[in-house]
Symmetry: C2
Subunit: 248 residues, 2 copies
């Protein structure tokens, strides 16, 4: 079972203040890149894995989606998400992505933003999503990049030549990583990029795009601290498609 | 044009002493993993991009390949490779992989070991390989991993907590990297993993497998210094297939 740090009061209070939680998708620097990887949403039934406050669900409905099912492990999140919409085509449900199930061939798009690094059994999750998608259905998600997650002690170092550098070690040692982010002892699961890609392929997905998010020049001009993402990627964005010729 | 460091006398002398040049494929720790990504070679026409001394070409012929065309930028390499075989179905030719051409739909497998990080125009190379393969044809290669190549000053660092760590910086800044390996000033070209993957996909390849080589327990027992590869990957192995239903 995934750790539910989101229902820890301290964590939730801090998390709720993050720009992307207050201001939504537009405050997430990777959103334009992730959005560009989405198919046309018109008429699509969407499942959002780790939906948080429901920013994506509402956006998707404004952009033609037929329906959105938002899943999240956090009672707090689901409560807040439900309070933000009257839309009958959006449904929110509590679910542990390490143990959830979905009806077969019921969605044209599975979407997830920065949730899968909390999941221990990624292969199970990918099988569940594969079954839940129609043939040709899309799977678009972001996840913390393994370069960012691998190290025993992640965090900037100063090279003896004076420049900022990011440590990578224990890269091939997959599994638990404990970090302090908003609250202490947040539990994440590191997987190599190879494992993430091969799990998709071996389950029957065709990889469409893989992006290691780096900011544009304009984004750095507006938000100078984003320049760090040029030195090492924090986020990995992926688009895949369920095998099959049916294009919904 | 790619730098031809291999015809530098000092470099060539040092390079020729590497275990994998003296003892062949069996001395390359990643070989079992790369071999497992190859299709059945029976009857296949193969092109080997950066063939070096021809170890793979000879092995492929022993394993059923119909023919092997080995390309290399180095006169020294090609000379040595030609001297090691009488096999009429193996041909060696000098070629700069930044400017070469191949006949259309003439190969069932394109193979390359640790050559593409010397290539500036990877997109051109991938288009050339795509055209040269029959539909359904395989493309299997290894390349230095971008985690290994990215940093301004690659090389192990000691974390303040005492453990070995590898620096990653300038990851999103693709292009030239100058390193000292055997000789000084070896010119390589860093590309993100995303660029390598997307170039294949956008050219019409389907990604089949992506492996960030890490040694097995047995390999580390036999060769303890390989344990470093658990901390950060040095090599990226990839298998892709030209779109199309024809299976040769």
């Amino acid at each position: 079972m995934a750790q539910n740090i989101y229902d820890d009061a301290t964590f939730f209070a801090g998390y709720s203040q993050l720009p992307r939680q207050v201001h939504g998708l537009a405050a997430a620097p990777e959103w334009p890149a992730l959005r560009a990887m989405l198919p046309d949403l018109t008429g699509k039934r969407i499942v959002d894995l780790g939906c948080g406050f429901g920013w994506f669900a509402r956006w998707a409905r404004e952009h033609g989606a037929a329906s959105v099912l938002g899943l999240d492990i956090s009672d707090n999140m689901i409560g807040r998400a439900r309070a933000t919409t009257q839309d009958q085509a959006i449904e929110y449900r509590m679910a542990d992505l390490d143990a959830f199930d979905l009806p077969e061939m019921s969605f044209e798009l599975a979407y997830s933003s920065l949730a899968f690094h909390y999941i221990e059994d990624f292969a199970r999750l990918v099988r569940t999503v594969h079954r839940a998608l129609v043939p040709g259905g899309h799977f678009v998600f972001s996840i913390e990049h393994p370069i960012y997650m691998a190290a025993k002690q992640p965090g900037w170092m100063t090279h003896e030549q004076g420049h900022r550098t990011w440590p990578v070690d224990h890269y091939a040692s997959e599994g638990e990583r404990h970090t302090d982010w908003i609250a202490s002892g947040v539990l994440k699961f590191h997987r190599t990029l190879g494992t993430t890609v091969n799990t998709l392929i071996d389950t029957g997905f065709v990889l469409r795009h893989l992006e290691e998010f780096a900011p544009t020049r304009e984004q750095v001009a507006q938000c100078p601290e984003l320049v760090e993402e040029m030195d090492r990627p924090l986020m990995l964005l992926m688009a895949a498609q369920r095998n099959g010729t049916y294009e919904s």
